[in-house]
Structure formats: C-alpha cells, structure tokens
Assembly symmetry: C2
Homo-oligomer: 243 residues x 2
C-alpha cells in the first residue's frame, strides 16, 4: 500500500518545448506535507542559458540576461542542491503534465536523484471539481475557486498546484491512486458522433493515443476504480502503470 | 552614490510579537534584480519551534507540528544556508516593517551576515500610489492593483512586496533614498484639530514618536527631497539616517 506524505511539487520553465535543443531557464519546487496539508519549503532559481535571447520570453517573461545574472554565484548551485535534497526525501514528485517537466529535469545533474523517486502527473488525476479532465493548470485552479493572476514562472505554477491540493479533501488518495496499476479505458464511435466525441474529450479521453495498445479508439489510462463513474460505457484493456 | 541592483526581500513569520520570548517559525526571501525588474530566486522554510502549539496559528496558519516536520533534515539547514548566501550577496535587505523582521533575524545564526548588509524598511518609503503612507503590506499591494488573496506566510508576503516593486517605475530610486541621510519633519497642532491630525497620519506622521528629538509633535523621518511634497508646512530637524 502506497502511503504518500511529503510530496515535491515541481515546475520547469524552459526556452522552448524540445528538451534536446531547448534549455531549463527556471526550476522551482515546493515541499508539501499531505498529513499537515501545508507547504513546508519553497525554492526556485533562474538558470543560465547558452542563448542570448529567450525565444519564449513573451510567455514566461524571463530574459536570458536575468537568467545569466546568477551564473557562477554560490547560491545558484546551493538552490539546485536544495531542490535535489527535497526531491531525494520526497515520497513522490508531482508536476502538471509531468512528462514535459521530467524530460527537462532528465537533462540536469539532479536527474539521478529525480529518477529514483516516483513521478505523478497531476494532469492525469481525476480531480472531482474539474469541469473537464486533463485540463491545464489555470483551468484546474479556477475550477477550485483559486484566483489566478499570473502563471508561467516556476514557483507560481507550483503554488497553484499546492493550493489545488490544499483545497481538495481527497488529494492524498487521488495522488496515491496515480501510483497504482492502471488500465486502458477505450471507446469507439463514428466520425459523425460529435456529441459523443466532445463527451469523451471532457472525460479526458484522447483519440488514437499512440501509447494505447488499441488503434482507432478514444482512450484514457485510468485507475480501475474510476471506470464506473464514466458517463458512457467503455471497453477495458489491462495495462500496468508505467511510471 | 548608492546604487542598488540585487535586493533581498525578506519576511519572518513568528510565534508572537516578542523577539526575546517568541520564535521564528518560517523564514522566506526573494532575490530580486532591480536592473532586470524580475525575481531571480525564491526560498522559504519552516523552522522547528520549542513550543507544542503555535500561539498565532490562527494568523499564519502554521502548526508547530508542521514546523517540526523538517527538524534535523539536511534541507532544513540547506535552505537557511541559501538564505544566508543570498543576503550576503545582496546590496540591501528589504522588509515591510523591517525593525520587526530584523529583531527576529538578529536571534538566528545568520545574524552576522544579515547585519553586514543595509536594511531598508519598505514601510518608510514614500510610495507614490499609496493612499496613505506607512500603511500595511496588504493595503499597499491593493493600492498598486495587486490582487491579494492570502498573506502571513513568509514567501507570500515577500511576493506581494516583489510585485509592488515590479509595478513601481521609480522603485530603484525610492529604495536608494532610504539609504541616504534623512531629516525629521515635525508638525505641531492643537488637540481639537482632528482634520489636521488625520492629514498628518495619512502622510505617515506619528504623534510623540519616541525616536524623534522633539516632544509633543507629529513627526516623520524623511528624505529631504520629499518635504516639499507634503500637503502642510513642517519644521525640519537634522538627523542622520540610523540604519
């Protein structure tokens, strides 16, 4: 039985979407205690990048000049060490759309520690108050009546997630379920069934997901307990949870 | 000529108002670059306290149990080390009502480093958009159209201050003026002049301030440049800025 208490909520801001060619420009994390339902520690740091201009400065507002400001300063590496220590101690690392953040963390020195801890993608969680499943962080925060007035800085996004968790009474169990075995729920329809497709999408289903063993179906990897709550009938296919 | 760039915005949450008997329960700071007008680093950590119950848990929401959760863990001291490194490197340490925060920081191991850097009390700054001077942090944030939906956690309060600075075009000069010599502006009135007293109060004047060399007057320690902007006539008394 998985028992989560200390979780590390993590967020990466980057210079683009490609972890092979783009770089981490800011890294942030929050150490959160589920048993105390509160934030224990927070840390974020800009990271120097090799480019002179951040191609996505219009999104995250971080200039390459600001990011280079800390280059070679002791507190630059001290902040990374602190993030590494927090990750090493956490029962799980959380991120919203975790595969994205993880692909960038994998390229940092902290990757060995980060990959020794199970990751939980909060976008895959079936949040009871979400108006549609697999929605983005801002939409999810608003569904939880959390005021949003900025995003796309690492710690701001971590804090939105911390507030969502704090307001969700069942958070601990919801997150633990993400670490248990899941199955593929699949659903087939016709091209013209727009209403059915919208309903599947709102339930977090994706069409022709490449990671799903069935082709040409709407599907979602889910905890078996959540299948019964779907508003339509699905075909279930076994699949172990691949973290 | 003082030239501020990297500032450390600092906030202490404590178990009470008395630095001799009460303890720091959370410490947070933001490293902010005035030249880039952006946040470079953020860090906060709960700190173990000797009491079983935090007497002001109803204010800051921090339980003694949560604060003790980090006791003896490596990242507890790593976070403090990071705060110390940031303070050591900063051109100034900022806090809203700085004497309060400083009295608590003075009791921590980081006090030697913290006292080697000039402190700036942002409550003493003449903020152009403040509806009244020397107001509290929430009032000041609202005057700058910054949404406030929580306070009294260390990093939340630092972030409010960072947003105020980010929105104030003249922030660099306003903060630098706090480190220059100041004078006492004093104003005398009668007991019944309620309107005049309210006006003096809104301008940040206090009655019978014990640190003012004159008795029985309304007074404020100010930068000489700001005297002319007062909406009433004052008597100026020389006084060096005592940091």
């Amino acid at each position: 039985m998985i028992d989560l208490d200390l979780i590390c909520i993590c967020d990466v801001e980057s210079t683009g979407l490609n972890p092979t060619t783009d770089e981490v420009i800011e890294l942030g994390c929050i150490l959160y205690s589920l048993s105390h339902n509160t934030v224990l520690q927070q840390v974020s740091t800009l990271m120097p990048v090799s480019v002179d201009v951040n191609p996505v400065e219009h999104i995250n507002g971080i200039s390459a000049g600001a990011a280079s400001k800390l280059d070679g300063r002791p507190f630059q590496s001290e902040a990374i060490d602190l993030i590494e220590s927090i990750m090493a101690y956490a029962d799980g690392i959380l991120a919203h759309n975790a595969p994205f953040d993880r692909s960038f963390v994998d390229r940092l020195e902290i990757s060995t520690v980060a990959s020794s801890v199970p990751w939980i993608d909060t976008r895959s969680v079936t949040w009871p108050r979400a108006t549609r499943q697999r929605c983005n962080l801002v939409e999810l925060a608003l569904a939880y009546s959390i005021p949003v007035w900025s995003n796309h800085r690492a710690l701001t996004d971590c804090q939105l997630l911390a507030h969502i968790i704090q307001r969700e009474p069942d958070a601990k169990r919801l997150l633990e379920k993400e670490l248990e075995s899941k199955v593929w729920a699949t659903w087939r329809t016709t091209v013209n069934d727009k209403e059915g497709q919208a309903r599947a999408k709102a339930a977090g289903f994706r069409w022709n997901d490449k990671t799903c063993p069935a082709n040409g179906v709407w599907s979602r990897l889910m905890h078996p307990d959540d299948i019964a709550q779907l508003p339509f009938d699905v075909v279930v296919m076994g699949a172990d949870y691949a973290n």
